[in-house]
Point group: C2
Chain length 470, copies 2
């Protein structure tokens, strides 16, 4: 079969269909829509039955999300605590970043990008060069000058703001953030993306003119973080936390309750009190606020917020002039979200033992369409599935690029349905028995609630038109 | 003025307008559109007259793009050869990455993300650990194991593919790419983002079953790279190049002709021959292909392509089985685009001595609307400008987030127009004298062709509706 592929700029490549993820339909139809074929996706799925996949390096602690992500080919171990993110994971990560960008824009966040290499001098000024000990990856450049691979950027951002000179209070609150790779030489990397040595973090730094204003900003950003988890459908607990080496005197963590969580959370059964157990000086069984009973849970930390005061602005001279034009040390806050950790933690808390469940909005692909098996009774309806696919592309623009056609028609529908569940598509469409009815009836499985709908083509289109995409 | 701000999830924050980039209009109108105010953008513009900005560290070579980018607050020096990318630059970079993603998707590229830390072992297997000498940033982890900060990922990706086991020829060509930060300990970092020690690169690695197929893929990717530059409106020359430490026997560079370019290009005046001078064994003045006269130009390398053969697949055992199920060493190619370098090089070749010109599709914001000066005759027309802004947001959805309102109405329109030109908005809308006519006439300056249009509000909307956004 010869298929002509039109390039964006109108050039023409011939006979190249085997080189493409997408089967272009330009030979059948006009227009640029195309089919995304499962058999072309990397890595190829080797989810055949129960072939055991080596999980983790020897002696490494593992967990459900790590096992499921390795089995589905979402991550691939590189070095200790470092993973290759495969195409599905990159898609999920980009969707998560976009969702966070939206929330940050709504509160006035501005996106920057700071270097990984930070000079030792900066960290010596803040007295963290020695404090961080072996957790800091350190290196020398060709001129024998010391650097670290930044695990966080309080020093860098404060110097950056200080270098702008005396900024006006009219520009406040100033909220700068970035989404970049961070580095931490963990003593025991474990749990896949949950505790690695190289990971993506979204870190925001805020600047205000007074403690009061900084605490308003603290609430504002915390609210936005809460909305991120709400939109992801992840139930979180916000607990009072230890500021650790970051500093400051007010700090909270966003925790996802989970058995494998490394943090012990204490929550009051009567009031809103919730704390990381490490913040309690003595072993407490009653709430310090209302004397209610404290219940213990384990949690995975996915976000951490800090009110920093002037700890960093003082040493780097970050100033803002107030309404009387008097320079005032900036009151700062910092706010982290673990990007790759949220992906893994989401999978950890939502998945079954065998099937991945993504926070739906960040699922790499929203829909998988499974073609009938070759040689089956339903094979005569192959074109119905394909035309459903093409109609979806034509009539629901927000699903462009979101629908995979599992074209491995040498396998049974049941086998492929099992693979689809393992990969975690929120919706799977198959041609069951009722595809032979007139009009043909498709089966739509909604993975997140376990329901199956039986719908005509029109019904399927109507149903999927209403999927919220962001 | 009290302005109510509705959060995404419907919560209500009061009195926070000063905390926002956007002036929400919810108190005036329904709907969620809002104005993006210039005075709130970071860093604040200090383009006042001719205040000299320190360009580069002492003794560092500088160039036009570096000077313009520093003056406009697009980048801020951090360490030698490392820059903070400020919000404008991050926007441009994200647009560039999206454009490249589109072209990669069209040819079947799949996006991955590989770690920065690569173990010395991998680089010793390929015998590049010693070869790269001081250009490689090296470090040890807490267990005294050697790593480098990857400047490129041939080793990592080949091992990654090899670990998938025997892949089928049906999956070929396999084209994996990533957009990540790369590291190179340059002896003399210079020219801002053109030659830094830390930079963003898009690198693609391809796998094929035969030399013939690999060379087809080589053409396919090269074609896509050409389309990237075409869409950016950047005139490029593709020259034969030296494969250097990457290896292989076929290599080309994409070069932007520019005086400050560090490469010497030789181009034939009669045929299509073009080469980096370093590939010519002797000093040639005539074309080796047609004896035509060779003309010398200088160029900035913005892309580099390599046919690698089996150099890496051999040492890492990356195999694909052919149609007879026989394992064959993968024939590889690799393809780089300098993301941050393209931004700087684009500015270098398009800008005037005082004003930045972006490749239009990646300009951080497409439009700047300048309000009348307070106390001027035109001040009575302030609401006309604001309603033009709001109508633009309402009627041209692709301009959401792309229009800045320069609200510094204490400054003259001329001063702000000068700033707008320095920042490089493709379109600037002002209220000149003719705003007082009935109907009011707006002035639209198209920076890229120097033309000024005089249009009614309807005319402005019609004109801007047709801006191509991607």
């Amino acid at each position: 079969m010869e298929v002509a592929i039109h390039s964006h700029s109108g050039g023409l490549f011939k006979n190249l269909v085997c080189g493409f993820l997408y089967l272009h339909r330009s030979c059948f139809h006009h227009g640029r829509s195309k089919r995304l074929l499962f058999s072309r996706l990397f890595p190829p799925m080797n989810l055949h039955g129960d072939k055991e996949i080596g999980v983790g390096r020897s002696g490494e602690l593992t967990c459900k999300s790590q096992r499921l992500m390795l089995q589905a080919g979402l991550i691939q171990p590189a070095n200790t605590g470092c993973f290759h993110y495969m195409p599905y994971t990159v898609r999920a990560m980009e969707k998560l970043v976009q969702l966070i960008d939206e929330e940050m824009k709504l509160i006035g966040g501005q996106k920057v990008n700071m270097p990984t290499l930070t000079s030792a001098n900066l960290w010596k000024i803040s007295e963290r060069w020695d404090l961080l000990g072996k957790e800091l990856f350190r290196l020398k450049d060709r001129h024998n000058i010391d650097y670290c691979l930044s695990p966080t950027h309080e020093e860098a951002v404060t110097e950056l703001v200080a270098m702008q000179g005396n900024l006006s209070y009219k520009q406040l609150p100033l909220m700068l953030y970035q989404v970049t790779r961070k580095f931490r030489d963990e003593p025991k990397p474990r749990f896949g993306l949950l505790r690695g040595r190289e990971f993506y973090m979204k870190d925001m730094y805020t600047f205000d003119i007074s403690e009061k204003a900084a605490k308003e900003t603290y609430k504002l950003v915390s609210g936005a973080y809460g909305r991120v988890f709400d939109r992801l459908g992840l139930r979180f607990v916000k607990v009072q936390a230890d500021p650790g080496s970051i500093g400051g005197n007010l700090s909270h963590e966003f925790q996802l309750p989970a058995e494998i969580g490394e943090d012990r959370l204490l929550m009051c059964s009567d009031c809103h009190f919730a704390a990381n157990a490490e913040t309690m000086k003595t072993v407490e069984t009653n709430c310090p606020q209302c004397e209610g009973k404290l219940i213990e849970n384990r949690g995975i930390e996915v976000g951490h917020t800090f009110y920093l005061g002037t700890k960093y602005s003082q040493v780097f001279g970050a100033l803002h002039s107030n309404s009387e034009n008097k320079p005032i040390l900036s009151e700062m806050g910092c706010f982290g979200l673990g990007i790759t950790r949220i992906l893994a933690a989401g999978i950890e808390v939502l998945s079954t033992e065998t099937d991945i469940r993504w926070p739906r909005l960040v699922a790499p692909y929203q829909i998988c369409v499974i073609s009938p098996k070759k040689g089956s009774k339903e094979e005569v309806c192959m074109d119905l599935l394909e035309s459903l696919y093409d109609n979806l592309m034509d009539t629901v623009p927000q699903l462009q690029g979101e629908v995979v056609l599992d074209d491995r028609s040498h396998l049974t529908v049941g086998r492929r349905l099992k693979d689809a569940n393992r990969l975690g598509y929120p919706y799977v469409i198959i041609a069951g028995r009722r595809i032979l009815e007139d009009p043909a009836i498709f089966e739509v499985n909604s993975q997140n609630n376990g329901r199956t709908l039986f719908l005509t083509q029109e019904g399927v289109l109507d149903f999927l038109k209403n999927i919220q995409m962001a």
